[in-house]
């Protein structure tokens, strides 16, 4: 490039100044006031039109939706399992039996979670017949009671500390809600514990055998089935606390139902859940 092509700093500064405001044409940032007015007006109209158009098409799209049931449920054909207390960062529970503050958060969380399950809260719910699907035709959809007593030692009634202070902590397992899901057979939650260097053992679950009663199905959705209570299963940790930290990996999965999958290559929470408990004395 020749020297001529390289502008001096002053030249380019002058050019910038001229671009910012050109006194001869009255142009500001390369456009005159009139030109700016026109262009702004154009974009106002144009974008106004686009916004209106988008709103309209979205509105039309929303009209195709049903308030009660989503149009498609193909992507959640089988429920996942989740556990409580709600894990904070990962699926790991770590506490010390002797230090209350180390598990206080878990207890609080469980209590909060079980609030809808108190007798008081459930008193308007229906006492349904065990062992059969509770299909309803509406227009009013009722929910079945889930007596906390079913959770026995983990109900929080006999032991408000859910076994944490005794070294036998409770973890609640539940199946994700899916509208219209009708489990076949006799679904139950089965949990196994695996500690390093020890044999895999089956952990005690409540209700007995981890049964999930069919009467809680199907679910009719948030709007129709507002008072719905999910069936729960509690798993209790039955290792004894010792001076060395006890690390146990617990795996729970749904069994006994053909249409509830408990294994998927990619989805580690489809019909199963694994978590770790680290307990110190």
């Amino acid at each position: 490039m020749t020297k001529k092509d390289k502008k001096s700093f002053q030249q380019s500064l002058a050019e910038w100044k001229l671009f910012l405001y050109n006194p001869t044409t009255g142009a500001f940032l390369g456009r005159t006031a009139k030109s700016w007015g026109l262009i702004l007006l154009f974009y106002l109209v144009f974008y106004g039109f686009l916004a209106a158009l988008f709103t309209f098409t979205m509105w039309v799209m929303l009209q195709t939706l049903n308030d009660e049931v989503p149009k498609y449920r193909d992507q959640i054909s089988s429920p996942g399992l989740t556990v409580f207390p709600k894990p904070v960062t990962a699926l790991e529970y770590s506490f010390s039996v002797s230090k209350r503050e180390s598990y206080e958060g878990y207890i609080e969380d469980l209590k909060k979670f079980l609030k809808p399950y108190t007798a008081e809260a459930q008193k308007n719910l229906r006492n349904c017949q065990d062992g059969a699907l509770f299909e309803q035709k509406g227009p009013v959809y009722e929910a079945c009671q889930f007596p906390l007593a079913l959770l026995e030692a983990c109900s929080g009634e006999s032991d408000p500390e859910f076994g944490y202070s005794k070294g036998h902590p409770c973890i609640l397992v539940k199946m994700n809600r899916i509208i219209g899901l009708k489990p076949q057979g006799k679904p139950a939650i089965e949990c196994t514990g695996n500690s390093k260097g020890e044999n895999t053992t089956t952990l005690p679950v409540y209700p007995s055998e981890g049964n999930i009663d069919l009467k809680y199905f199907p679910y009719y959705g948030k709007k129709l089935h507002a008072s719905y209570l999910q069936p729960l299963v509690a798993v209790q940790f039955n290792y004894t606390a010792s001076s060395t930290p006890k690390e146990v990996t617990v795996e729970c999965k749904i069994v006994g139902s053909k249409n509830l999958k408990n294994y998927d290559d990619r989805d580690k929470f489809l019909g199963r859940v694994a978590f770790k408990i680290t307990m110190r004395a």
Partner: protein, 1039 residues
């Protein structure tokens, strides 16, 4: 030139003197430029050689002095040992080949252009982003690594492709340069030996004969009828006589020096080698070319400008959203990732490949039309060319002497000078013609090489000089078998041409058995011939040559000479049978036959005629707003005549000198404004300052530069470039190579061109036809328009790809479009359609508009960017978002739920995220839905890109004017888009790494109304542009 230029220019058959007269004054200056440049060059490049003077005085030395100087002997030559020593000292007698760029450098160069840099920066940013993510979270997604790798791969693959393309055209070139090892006949150890010319050394005595290439710069010691073709050195198409006399101070002008690489046309000569290899004149010129920098191609400048725009947009959006993200309480590290993400999302990954493929498609198309493009980017350069500096000889002309006019019976007849069909239509019934044709046929020593009966007459090889060749071919065409005629008219005596006589004469027995008279025929310089005549033949009858006929002769002579033609006079005499009986013995030395009172028959003029396709091509250039300037080393009069006949100087425009002549006033009195044309000689050019040259270049639309040196060609090209013009230079000789290199696009002749010219050029005309340039211009302009369309098409979806990310940051919806999915648009569905736009036909007659202004008509201008980004791009985003929201809503997540869901949505241990209906989703179920969202967004963009593709077919015309189906490739593009999308969604739906899922068929149609809207909107835009040209709308909306 002024007064030194005679009014007519004619060269006798073997004339020697008047040539010198014509340009005595300016020749010294003509080459001065060259020499001084050589010196300068040496100063610049080899400082150690500054003191070493170029040896200029060999032509002044006597043979004895030469022998002493070079320690040689004219008779015995060098001894072998001497020669070997000298060879070891000076190196072989060959031009050192131009420094070849190593292949690996050529290859790497392909990967560092403006565009490639953008992609490299993108790739590196991606890897940095991954580095940040990885140091934060060991399990972070590898998307950024993939993206970076793909970007790098795109650059490398495109680089390989471009390299391959250019290598291919280089190979075609290589096949053109037939390297026949040259031999030289040298006297060494008192013996004549044939050795390879490479082994010649200074002091060698060489012998050359007609047809040989002169093997080195030689000082002639002996010459007989020797003529050389210096056209590759000086551009003169006339054969230059050589002798052993010192005739001129200037070594380039003196007759006793022959130059390396020029050809000896006829005669024989012996000379002493005075310079070899790179030290020869041609070697100096060749090195001049390597000292000239290559200009950046206009398209490279445009792409750089485009990269600036893209980078500017990317960085401003990136920084803006970085600030927004930080103020939204995102972690700074995350914000940096966003910043990088936004910048990378702006990189048009596919465009580099598309542009390269598009250019090479055009290059291929041009190669079919005989324009071989050496440098892909040069494809477009021709389209933006505003000035063509064309060489005369060989480019505009056929580079062979041809009979152009005849004068007899007081009338000028025109001969057909076109290349192939040689049908003479002038009146051949006159008795004068019968006599004239006989003289032409008989007074001629040229012969066809035997064995060429099947070759068209004009292509046959002839032994003889250019003028005689022209006459031979002319008479063969008109009369038929010339050899047979000559056989029937047996030659009894002959005086060949010599420079004192200035005529050629032969005496024949006639083929008329009843006529026992001898026929004497003669041709030569017209005035010399006329002197010898006392009668003139009119309509077959001899008439006394009176004052009026003599005047008629001079008028005709002047007229033909004024056309820049070489004029010959013809006369004959029937020797009376009484005085010269059949047995009479003619003695050419004693001249025992009459040499006066002959009968003048006619004149015949020859010129190196323009190629028949050239005038049309010049007209086309002119209507395309391209100025064609002739730059030649030839004489001003010839140059002007050719310029006039091809239309470089149009029929009704005059030079200052013309006006002066017409009004009969002095040149100084003429108002320069009236003259449209100008002929500038090298001598005038030498005295001009830069400003004066600029003034000439701007004020005259029609310019001819004559008698220019290679250095002056450079000055002219630079002058044109100062006017912000894109300059094309055509040429074939070594003398053109510096200018070819300096030009924005150098065009070399494929057949006649020297290797040096081809090396310096960017483009090679395989058929040497100037008209091919016009094709090239057309293709170049079309590709510029179509690249605009391609870029507009590609930029549009960039916004549709960027918006999801922005919305994801600001509104917190699950990511609507993933990185890998974007890659599948940019490098998948969009590739074929954007290439298809290269096949689009021109919207209007592109050859009827002005060439684009280098600095004003940009490839990517503001309206293009604004319209693509803020109009169509935004509409496209809205359409794609509609598909996205539809998919989520119908699966259970209403738009209202989605807002600010991002954090929860992306937590790996949240496996019970509630949707709008109370259902709970595991992380993987959400992920799968997210991929469905990607697919939906992808399909949304793809469907609207079809509309985008269709609207980009035209910039101004309605699609219906352009025709929906004229460009079939567009439909191939659309089909490819749909098929790739179908395969991705349904064929590879289960490959999770690609993040595609099976999409319900109805979602494919959600964006269709938006696609139609885009089409309608663009039709409205074009309609207003057509209705209100020059309006506010036109200025803001036409790209």
């Amino acid at each position: 030139m002024g007064q030194k230029t005679p009014q007519i220019y004619s060269v006798e058959l073997n004339g020697a003197k008047d040539m010198k007269q014509t340009d005595k004054g300016d020749d010294k200056d003509k080459y001065r430029g060259l020499w001084s440049t050589c010196l300068e060059l040496r100063k610049n490049h080899h400082k150690e050689h500054v003191t070493k003077e170029i040896d200029l005085d060999d032509h002044k030395l006597s043979n004895k002095e030469l022998e002493n100087k070079y320690h040689t002997n004219i008779v015995t030559g060098l001894s072998s040992t001497q020669a070997a020593e000298l060879l070891a000292r000076d190196g072989p007698n060959a031009l050192s080949p131009p420094q070849e760029t190593p292949e690996i450098i050529k290859f790497l160069k392909q990967m560092v252009g403006g565009f490639s840099i953008l992609l490299w920066v993108g790739a590196i940013l991606c890897w940095i982003a991954y580095g940040i993510q990885f140091s934060n979270d060991k399990s972070s997604s590898l998307d950024n690594v993939y993206l970076g790798t793909v970007l790098a791969l795109v650059v490398i693959l495109t680089g390989i492709f471009a390299y391959y393309q250019e290598a291919k055209s280089t190979n075609i070139m290589a096949s053109f340069s037939k390297m026949i090892p040259q031999q030289a006949l040298v006297i060494r150890d008192s013996e004549k030996k044939i050795i390879p010319a490479e082994q010649l050394v200074v002091g060698d005595i060489v012998e050359i004969k007609g047809g040989d290439q002169i093997p080195a710069d030689i000082r002639l010691l002996f010459a007989q009828g020797c003529k050389v073709d210096n056209s590759s050195l000086t551009g003169e198409s006339e054969p230059q006589p050589r002798s052993c006399e010192f005739t001129h101070d200037n070594p380039l002008e003196t007759k006793n020096i022959g130059f390396y690489s020029t050809t000896c046309l006829e005669g024989t000569a012996t000379g002493m080698v005075i310079n070899t290899g790179d030290r020869t004149i041609i070697g100096h010129i060749a090195s001049l070319a390597s000292g000239v920098g290559n200009e950046k191609t206009p398209i490279a400048t445009e792409i750089e400008h485009f990269v600036h725009i893209v980078a500017g947009v990317a960085i401003s959006i990136g920084v803006l959203f970085f600030i927004i993200a930080v103020s939204m309480k995102y972690r700074v590290l995350d914000s940096i990732i966003f910043l990088i993400g936004i910048i990378v999302a702006n990189v048009p990954e596919g465009l580099l490949a598309t542009v390269t493929v598009t250019l090479s498609l055009t290059a291929k198309r041009m190669a079919k039309k005989n324009c071989l493009v050496k440098n892909l980017e040069a494809v477009e350069t021709l389209g933006s060319t505003s000035i063509i500096c064309s060489d005369k000889t060989g480019t505009l002309t056929q580079n062979r002497m041809t009979v152009a006019h005849l004068w007899f019976d007081n009338q000028i007849f025109m001969a057909d000078t076109s290349e192939d069909h040689f049908k003479q239509t002038f009146d051949q019934s006159s008795g004068t013609w019968a006599s004239l044709s006989k003289i032409i046929t008989l007074c001629n020593r040229a012969e066809f090489r035997p064995g060429q009966e099947r070759v068209p007459i004009m292509k046959r090889v002839v032994v003889g000089d250019a003028s005689e060749t022209a006459l031979l071919k002319f008479s063969e065409v008109v009369l038929g078998d010339v050899m047979e005629i000559r056989k029937r008219n047996h030659k009894v005596a002959e005086i060949p041409f010599n420079s004192t006589n200035k005529f050629q004469l032969s005496i024949h027995k006639t083929d008329d058995p009843t006529d026992k008279r001898f026929l004497m025929v003669m041709k030569g310089a017209p005035e010399k011939i006329l002197e010898k005549c006392s009668t003139i033949m009119v309509n077959g009858q001899e008439q006394p040559l009176d004052q009026s006929t003599a005047e008629a002769f001079y008028t005709a002579y002047m007229e033909l000479g004024g056309l820049g033609e070489r004029v010959l006079g013809f006369c004959h005499l029937y020797l009376s049978a009484d005085e010269f009986p059949e047995t009479y013995s003619f003695d050419v030395d004693a001249m025992n036959f009459p040499m006066s009172n002959l009968c003048f028959v006619g004149l015949l003029s020859m010129i190196d005629p323009p190629r028949s396709t050239v005038p049309d091509a010049i007209t086309k250039c002119r209507s395309a707003g391209i100025k064609v300037i002739m730059v030649t080393g030839d004489h001003p009069i010839t140059a002007k005549a050719i310029a006039k006949s091809v239309g470089i100087i149009s029929a009704n425009s005059e030079t200052v000198e013309d006006i002066a002549k017409r009004l009969n006033i002095a040149v100084e009195q003429v108002n320069k404004q009236d003259a449209k044309a100008v002929v500038v000689t090298g001598m005038e050019l030498k005295d001009m300052s830069e400003d004066q040259l600029d003034e000439v270049l701007t004020s005259y639309p029609e310019i001819v530069f004559a008698r220019t040196s290679p250095q002056q060609k450079l000055i002219i090209v630079e002058g044109c470039q100062r006017q912000d013009a894109v300059v094309a230079v055509t040429g074939d000789g070594v003398n053109d190579s510096p200018a070819l290199k300096k030009a924005d696009i150098g065009i070399a002749m494929g057949i006649a061109g020297s290797d040096a010219a081809k090396n310096a050029a960017d483009m090679v005309l395989l058929d040497d036809n100037f008209a091919s340039i016009v094709t090239g211009v057309e293709e170049g302009r079309l590709i510029f328009d179509n690249l605009k369309k391609t870029i507009a098409y590609t930029l549009t979806k960039n916004i549709a790809e960027l918006c999801p990310f922005l919305i994801y940051i600001i509104v917190g919806v699950p990511l609507p479009l993933g990185t890998i999915t974007i890659l599948f648009i940019d490098l998948g569905t969009d590739i074929v359609p954007s290439i298809a736009l290269a096949y689009e036909k021109a919207e209007s007659d592109i050859m009827n508009r002005k060439p684009r202004h280098k600095k004003k008509d940009r490839l990517v201008n503001k309206p293009l960017a604004v319209y693509s980004y803020l109009h169509i791009g935004l509409m496209q985003s809205l359409g794609a978002f509609l598909v996205y929201f539809t998919v989520y809503a119908q699966e259970g997540f209403r738009p209202s739920t989605l807002i600010n869901l991002r954090v929860e949505w992306e937590k790996d241990f949240v496996n019970n995220l509630e949707d709008s209906y109370g259902q709970e989703w595991t992380r993987y179920q959400r992920k799968y839905l997210e991929w469905t969202g990607y697919t939906a967004f992808f399909i949304g963009i793809m469907i609207q890109q079809i509309a985008d593709l269709i609207i980009r077919k035209t910039r101004k015309n309605s699609i219906f004017q352009q025709g929906l189906f004229r460009n079939k490739v567009i439909w191939v593009g659309i089909a490819s888009q749909i098929i790739i999308a179908l395969i991705l969604s349904y064929g590879l739906g289960s490959i999770t790494a690609l993040n595609f899922t099976m999409l319900r068929p109805q979602y494919w149609f959600v964006a269709v109304p938006h696609a139609f809207l885009i089409w309608v909107y663009d039709e409205v835009r074009k309609l207003f542009i057509r209705l209100y040209p020059g309006s506010w709308w036109d200025k803001n909306m036409y790209y």
